[in-house]
Structures are given as structure tokens and as C-alpha cells.
Amino acid sequence: MSELDHAQTTRHISVTVNGTVYERDVLTRTHLGDFLRQELGLTGTHLGCEHGVCGACTIILDGQPIRSCLMLAVQANGATIRTIEGLAQADGTLHPVQEAFWDKHGLQCGFCTPGMVTTLAAVLEADPTLDETAIREAISGNICRCTGYETIVDAALQAASRMRGDH
């Protein structure tokens, strides 16, 4: 088979995204980011570089922050995914990381924000005791051209504090 014949190959997958189970036939070459955006209409996940460096496309897959541009949709078969659209509660209550981004001016253009927020939500849910150095390390794979990162770090520190219940 030629490369372009492979481009027509499809597989059936089932993924749970933000609590909803989706069954789809997908082209095997479709990456997960395109699948979420184009097939499921979840355009909150942004594609910034599509070579795995900028982190804008980060989603939470089985609890881990991963780059949806570096994974094929078929590889996500059976996985449970949270995207930026699934972080707030059903009643609209924001995730502490979202709330903190608003409070601390952690975003300007907002394009890197879904990836930043999902990355931080995943790492802080796993460990809300992270300090500034660890937070900077955690987002070192997320590029922001607008903020200079400081207010994102401040937002993460506020969110961590709230997630620890410090208030």
C-alpha cells in the first residue's frame, strides 16, 4: 500500500470525553487534536505548533496532561479524556485553575490558555503542594507569547492554595 492509500484507512474507536462516550470511525492518520476539534467540535483545544513543543493542545488523558497533536486518535481508543470544556462543573462553577487565571490576569490573547489550564489542573490535582519552581517546570512545555508567564505562575500558586484548602 502506498502512503496515500494508508491515508484512507479508518478504525473504529470509543473514547470518553468530558463524561460523554463517543463512538467514531476515524482515519488512522488523524491526530487526537484534530479529532477533538473536527469530529467532536471541541474547539477549545487549540493547535499552536503541531510538533509537540508549544503545549497549546494539551488535554488530560487518563489523568495525565498530554499533547493531543502528538497522539493519534486511534491511540486514544478506550481512554478517558478531559478537555478545557470539561474542567468547569456542570453548574458553571469554574475549576480553581480557571478561576485563578481570571483573578490573576493569567491570560491575554487566550490561545495558549486551554493548554496552560489543563496542564496545571492535571499537575495540581495530582499534587497541590507544588511550589513556584515546580510550577514553572510543569509549564515549561507550554509557550505563552503574551504574558511573560509571571501571572500564570501567580494563578497556579493561588489555585494550588485553594486546592489545598488554605484559602
Partner: protein, 771 residues
């Protein structure tokens, strides 16, 4: 009525949808039936096109069309209009929407492949066979004017597009009498836009062919409309351009690009909605870049270290075309003499064509370049005379008693450049005070321990609030809520929030009561664009003027309704009230009244609608200023630079929202740090770009960036009704100069002299070894 929201750190109105993934960036807009476009781009820096064979691509399943310049009519083959015409350029070159006959940089758009999906379009783009005849490429700025140098375009006799000359005073006299004259060779390197959202264009023609809707990830939707209406021969009312949520701009998105023309042309040609979204690889070769300049300069100083004069020459690379005319070298030129009260200046700038990506403003435009060279000269004077870098600046600055200060230079319209207000010495002193006085002791101690820390300093003045105008409409609706319409769209700056803050105070409501719509040419008649740190001044003043007029109208009508004196009325909580009584009428009721009803005349002398439209015309420029200080540590074994502290003292006049201004400053500084240490757009000798992904082209990351400590001064501008000055680029302008100054200071024991950026660890290790 005192200000309540103006000046406050109001949380942004923009944020709730953006933090929950409900933003609508260009690629997020649902468009049933849309076809996807991939652009075939030149793989050569300079070549003739002999033929284009599209047959194989056209035959590929899922491909709808493959379009070249020959398919889209004469306008697709004609050079696009220069966005800022430059009569001084003898051979003005701009590219055509699709290349016709020749290409002049790697990445130039040659053909469009239209398909049912982007993936299929990309597959087929690889099947478009273009027969090129490669020509020698010009990528060597230093030798671009040498005899026998390759020319960047066969239409040229020489790579020189033109020469700008500027200056004032008795240069020869000042240099001959000066106690000291020092020479420097300095250079700056280009970087890119790197907005996290790449560019994109979507176009949907009306079935009748008489209208077209265009969405573009642009800073200037009105410029796109103007360009397309002229090009397509359509009424402006029939060309609707919308800038949806835009994921960063930083200057390059202010250009009307080849794709902004070609995609709507192709959509009309096919009668189909089309979408093209730039991918990151394309962004490196098809979105404008900036900063390559080579300088030879001399500075004259008196015995006390006061700078008296500067003269010099610059080779400015503008890439393959002049999409924005010579606006870059013009901003470099007009940024002299910076904050310094020079007696004489003589600068010439040769604008050079090369076979690299065309240049247009990137955050700061030509200003960071001029700041870098002036600040290097100031540091040189300090070092040679053995006085502090701060004192050279204090002594050389325009002094507070001199405002308004005519620098001797001319603005773009030929008028004298005149600084409006500020206190440059005090602003520097604020930065020094924040930085603390113990640095020298710590530096000595560190050196004794074998650690090399350094302090950097850079001062700047920035022209902001660029002419000609922006405008705004304020309209109170019958439900009491307020619509604020403007042409001044944002790419992350938070215009909606600050405009609502300005209007809320005048109307006695909250920012949340105001819906701001910007960047849709169907909603507001005219606009210019969000560039050059101009919107707080032009858009903000327009909003203020419209709000003041709306308020006056509300009071006038309410005085009739309430049978009260206008002087006794106040606007509060959405009502016009007779102060000291419980008599009131809501803004919504007044709006309902002024919207009118069948057969009922409006009150005499009152025009329909509780609304006003105002255009603020910037007839005089406002000038922000500031001084940055930073501390770095250089590892002399590895050449690694760590920025330990970064202090900004900044004066952009009256602050509308200090939280948002701080955000602009921080982001701007980090952009400048990127220029100083990380961002390298490398071309090989054939004009092939070598750094076209984020593994090769480094951007600042969270782990490397310092906290940025900000001190504000507020010297209101007397030149607009709200006293503001722009803040969008003031962070970037001095940052690279400040970091380089600090590295040189850290490495002073090794006699390392720095005259260029970016500096890599390898560069520094070599310089240390040589020193």
C-alpha cells in the same frame, strides 16, 4: 463624579469564555460546507517559474481545485498595494497574491490547493509540480551593496531600496569640539511574530457574487476591507471583514497578506466558502519578521559624560519586499535621539532588499533597534569615562524643565517630533531605588566566589498613539444595557475591559453593563488598526468622548422628563437622578423614549437614540518613557545566562487598568529577552531557512523568565482627553539592550564587549575565551 473604574485593576470582561474553551478563534468558527486550502510555497529563495503543472494534484480524490495566479485573474498577478507608500523608493517591490513568473523568498505563495479537508489539500499540494529556474540569492546584508553582489530581484539594479537620512544640529562642530568620541559597530538580528495562534483567512461569497464575508486573524480588519474592496471592485459595504478572537498579533498580523487577497479571490472564483489556516511551519516562512540591522556609529560626549551627538550609518534588511513600505527604518530613524537631549545627530539608513521573509513591524518596530544602539553607546561612554551608567543617562536625558521638547527630528508627516511630558531622571531614579543600592557589593562578593553577576540598564522613549484616528459608538439600549462599538479590535490587550471602564464612569454604570463589540466592519464604519501602541490613546479617547456626549444627552433629556435643572442631575446605578431627591429616570427609559415610537415626535432639539459616536484624531503624538534594570548571572564555563531580577520603571501617563498595563509590560519585556538570548531566524547562504520549528527556534519559557518588578510613574499626556500614553511596546523596546548591558557588566573582568544580539551560550563562551 470621581473615577471609580478608570484606574482600577478591573478583572477582564474577555476572560470567562476564554478560560472555558469557548473562544472563537478563526479555526473554531463553524462554517457548513467550507472547503480547505493548502498553499503551495516556493522552496527557493530566488527563482524563475517556468511552468506549473497542476494536473496530478487536480486528479487527487477530494481535491476541488488547484489555482495559480493565472487562474484568478489580473488582480492575483498584480503586486499588492504597499500599506504605507514610500515615494523615496525607486523600485518599490511588493509580492502579488500568488507568485507570477518568479519567487523571491522561501515560503512565497505560489498556488492554492482547495480540497474537502486540509489533510487532502496538503497531500495534493505536494503533487503540484512547479518548474523553477533557481537564481542566486542575496542573504548577506553586510555585502548586499558590494559590486557583483547577487540582486534579490531581477527588477532591481541594486539591492538598495532607498536611503533615509535624518538629523539636526552642527554635527561636525559638535564632534570636533567634544572631549570624547567613541566608535561602535553594532548589529541586531531578526525574530518572528510567534503569536500562539498562527494566521488564518476564511471567506464566504454571497451566491449572487455581490457580497463577501471575510474572517481574518488580523490586527487591522478595516485595512483588509479597504484592500479587498479596492482589489475586487466592490463597495466597502459589500465586503464584511471580521477579526474574531485573535490569538496574539505583535505587529505581523497588521499586514494584509497574500492569503488575505488570494483566499477571497479563490472563494469568489469557485463560489464556495474557503478556509486557510497557517500552520507553524508556514508561520516561519510566510509571516513577516524583523530586526536585522548593521550599524556603524560614533558618539560624542563631554568630559562629564553627557552625550552631545551621535552619527552613524545603518544597513537595514527589509527582506524580499516592502509590504509596509519603509515604516521600519522610519521608526528606527524617528526613535533617535531617544531620551537624550543631543545637540547634533546625523543618521543614514540604507534599506536593503534580500531574499528572506519580508520585514514589517514586530513588537516595537524599529524602536528596539534604536534603543539598543543608543544604550550601547551610553554604556560605552560610561565605561570609557569611568562614571556610572546611570549618571551618563541622567546627564544626557531631556530634563523635566525642557518639556514639551522638540528633538530636532521629523515625524512621518513631516511635523517636528515633540516629547509631551515626563521626568526621565525621576523615572530612572525610581528604577534604581527599586533595584537597591547594594549591587556593587554583591557583585564584588560574587566575583570573589567565582560567580559573575552583572547589572544592566536601558532607558527609552516611545512614540505612542499613532495617527490618524480610531472611533467609538456608545448606544444605550431600552433594556438599560449599553452597546459600545469600535473598530479597534484586540489581540489579547483587553480593549473591551478598558473601554468599558472608561465608559462606565461617565454613564454611572458598571463595566459589566456594557457589551463591547470590536473588529467587525459591519458594526462600526471606520477604523485603522491595533498597532504602534495606539489604541489606549486613540480608541480610549474616542470612547471617552462618546461617553461624555451620551451622558450630556441623557442629562438634557432627563432634565425635561424630571423637570429639573441639568446641574442638579447625576448618573448613578443606571439612573439619572435629581440629587438629594428620589426623583429619577432610568437610562433604559430614556433610551426607549429616544428610540421613538410611531407617530410620536421626539423632544424638540433631540436627535434619535441615546447614543453618540466620536472619533479621536491623534494630531499630536504622546511619548511614554522608562528605565529598566536587570541582574544576570553568567556561568563562564557553559555561557548560560540566568536573569536573576528585572525591574521596570515605566511612565505611560494615566493608567486605565494597572493590572492590564503590567501585563503588557511583562509580556513585552519577555519578548525582548527572547530577542536578546533565544530567538534566531537563521538562513543558509542559499536563503534556506534553518530554524523552522520550536526545537530550532527558541522562545522564552517559564523556567527561564524572571519575575518582573514594575514601578509606575504617571505623567499625564496633555495631548488627549484622558491623559494616557500607549503601553504595548514599552516592555520590549529596552529589554534586549538591558539584558546585553547586564551580561557585559557581568563579564567585565574578561573585557568582553557586546555589540549584538541574540547571544547564545556558545557565543559567550567564545567571547570569554577570547577576552
Amino acid at each position: 463624579m470621581g473615577a471609580r473604574y478608570f484606574g482600577a485593576a478591573v478583572k477582564r470582561l474577555e476572560d470567562p469564555k476564554l478560560i472555558t474553551g469557548r473562544g472563537q478563534y478563526l479555526d473554531d468558527i463553524a462554517m457548513p460546507g467550507v472547503l480547505h486550502v493548502a498553499v503551495v510555497r516556493s522552496p527557493h529563495a530566488h527563482a524563475l517559474i517556468n511552468a506549473i503543472d497542476t494536473s496530478m494534484a487536480r486528479g487527487h480524490a477530494g481535491v476541488v481545485a488547484v489555482l495559480t495566479a493565472d487562474d484568478l485573474g489580473e488582480m492575483a498577478r498584480k503586486p499588492m498595494p504597499m500599506m504605507a507608500p514610500a515615494p523615496m523608493v525607486k523600485t518599490p517591490l511588493t509580492q502579488s497574491p500568488l507568485a507570477h513568473g518568479s519567487v523571491h523568498y522561501v515560503g512565497e505563495a505560489v498556488a492554492l490547493v482547495v480540497a474537502e479537508s486540509r489533510a487532502v489539500a496538503e497531500d495534493a499540494a505536494a503533487m503540484v509540480m512547479v518548474d523553477y529556474d533557481p537564481l542566486p540569492a542575496m542573504v548577506d546584508l553586510a555585502h548586499a551593496l558590494n559590486e557583483g553582489a547577487a540582486v534579490a530581484n531581477q527588477a532591481l539594479q541594486s539591492n538598495l531600496a532607498g536611503t533615509l537620512k535624518g538629523g539636526f544640529g552642527d554635527v561636525a562642530g559638535v564632534f570636533s569640539k567634544a572631549a570624547h568620541v567613541f566608535k561602535e559597530s553594532l548589529s541586531l538580528h531578526r525574530g518572528g511574530c510567534h503569536a500562539m495562534e498562527c494566521r488564518g483567512v476564511m471567506a464566504r461569497p454571497d451566491p449572487s457574487g455581490n457580497r463577501i464575508d471575510i474572517w481574518s486573524s488580523t490586527q487591522s480588519p478595516y485595512m483588509v476591507r479597504r484592500a479587498l474592496a479596492l482589489c475586487l471592485g466592490m463597495d466597502e459595504a459589500s465586503v464584511r471583514v471580521t477579526a474574531p478572537d485573535v490569538g496574539g498579533g505583535f505587529g505581523p498580523k497588521a499586514v494584509v497578506y497574500a492569503e488575505d487577497y488570494a483566499i477571497p479571490m479563490a472563494a469568489r472564483h469557485l463560489g464556495r466558502a474557503l478556509k486557510w489556516v497557517e500552520d507553524r511551519g508556514e508561520h516561519f516562512v510566510a509571516t513577516t519578521q524583523q530586526r536585522d540591522q548593521l550599524w556603524e556609529l560614533e558618539v560624542a560626549a563631554d568630559a562629564q559624560g553627557r552625550m552631545l551627538g551621535v552619527r552613524g550609518h545603518c544597513l537595514h534588511d527589509n527582506g524580499a519586499y516592502l509590504p509596509y513600505g519603509v515604516v521600519l527604518p522610519v521608526t528606527s530613524m524617528s526613535s533617535f535621539p531617544g531620551p537624550y537631549a543631543l545637540e547634533a545627530l546625523e543618521i543614514s539608513i540604507d534599506v536593503i532588499y534580500t531574499n528572506m521573509v519580508p520585514n514589517t513591524p514586530v513588537r516595537g518596530a524599529g524602536r528596539p533597534n534604536t534603543c539598543f544602539v543608543l544604550e550601547r553607546l551610553a554604556d560605552r561612554v560610561a565605561r570609557e569615562l569611568g562614571i556610572s551608567r546611570e549618571d551618563v543617562r541622567r546627564r544626557s536625558f531631556v530634563q523635566v524643565s525642557q518639556f514639551p521638547y522638540e528633538t530636532g527630528m521629523k515625524a512621518r508627516d513631516g511635523s517636528p517630533v515633540s516629547y509631551d511630558s515626563g521626568d526621565y531622571v525621576q523615572c530612572l531614579d525610581l528604577a534604581v531605588a527599586k533595584f537597591g543600592s547594594d549591587f556593587k557589593a554583591r557583585q564584588d562578593k560574587a566575583r570573589a566566589e567565582g560567580r559573575y553577576i552583572g547589572m544592566g540598564i536601558a532607558s527609552y522613549v516611545e512614540d505612542t498613539g499613532l495617527a490618524p484616528y480610531e472611533g467609538a459608538t456608545i448606544r444605550v439600549q431600552p433594556n438599560g444595557k449599553v452597546l459600545l462599538l469600535t473598530g479597534a479590535a484586540a489581540q489579547g490587550q483587553g480593549h473591551k475591559t478598558v473601554f468599558a471602564q472608561i465608559a462606565a464612569d461617565q454613564l454611572g454604570i458598571t463595566p459589566q453593563d456594557i457589551t463591547v463589540e470590536a473588529g467587525d466592519t459591519s458594526l462600526f464604519p471606520l477604523g485603522i488598526g491595533t498597532i504602534a501602541s495606539r489604541v489606549a490613546v486613540t480608541g480610549g479617547s474616542s470612547v471617552h468622548m462618546a461617553a461624555v456626549e451620551t451622558r450630556a444627552k441623557a442629562i438634557k433629556v432627563a432634565s425635561q422628563v424630571l423637570e429639573a435643572q441639568e446641574a442638579d442631575l447625576v448618573l448613578e446605578g443606571g439612573f439619572v437622578k435629581v440629587s438629594g431627591t428620589d426623583r429619577q429616570v432610568s437610562l433604559g427609559q430614556l433610551a426607549l423614549m429616544l428610540h421613538g415610537n410611531f407617530g410620536q415626535p421626539l423632544p424638540a432639539g433631540i436627535a434619535p437614540g441615546l447614543s453618540a459616536t466620536a472619533f479621536y484624531e491623534a494630531r499630536q503624538t504622546t511619548f511614554a518613557n522608562g528605565t529598566n534594570l536587570c541582574e544576570v548571572e553568567v556561568d563562564i564555563e557553559t555561557g548560560a545566562v540566568k536573569i536573576l531580577r528585572y525591574v521596570v520603571a515605566h511612565d505611560c501617563g494615566t493608567l486605565i487598568n494597572p493590572m492590564l498595563v503590567d501585563g503588557q509590560i511583562r509580556g513585552g519585556v519577555v519578548h525582548g529577552i527572547g530577542n536578546a538570548l533565544f530567538e534566531r531566524m537563521i538562513y543558509d547562504e542559499n536563503g534556506q531557512p534553518q530554524t523552522t520549528n520550536y526545537g530550532e527556534y527558541l522562545l522564552p519559557l517559564a523556567t527561564e523568565m524572571p519575575r518582573i518588578e514594575i514601578v509606575h510613574m504617571e505623567s499625564p499626556s496633555p495631548r488627549n482627553p484622558i491623559g494616557v500614553k500607549g503601553a504595548g511596546e514599552g516592555g520590549t523596546i529596552p529589554a534586549a539592550a538591558c539584558v546585553i548591558s547586564a551580561i557585559e557588566d557581568a563579564l567585565s573582568p574578561f573585557h568582553v564587549r557586546l555589540g549584538s544580539h541574540p547571544l547564545s551560550p556558545q557565543d559567550l563562551v567564545e567571547l570569554i575565551d577570547r577576552g
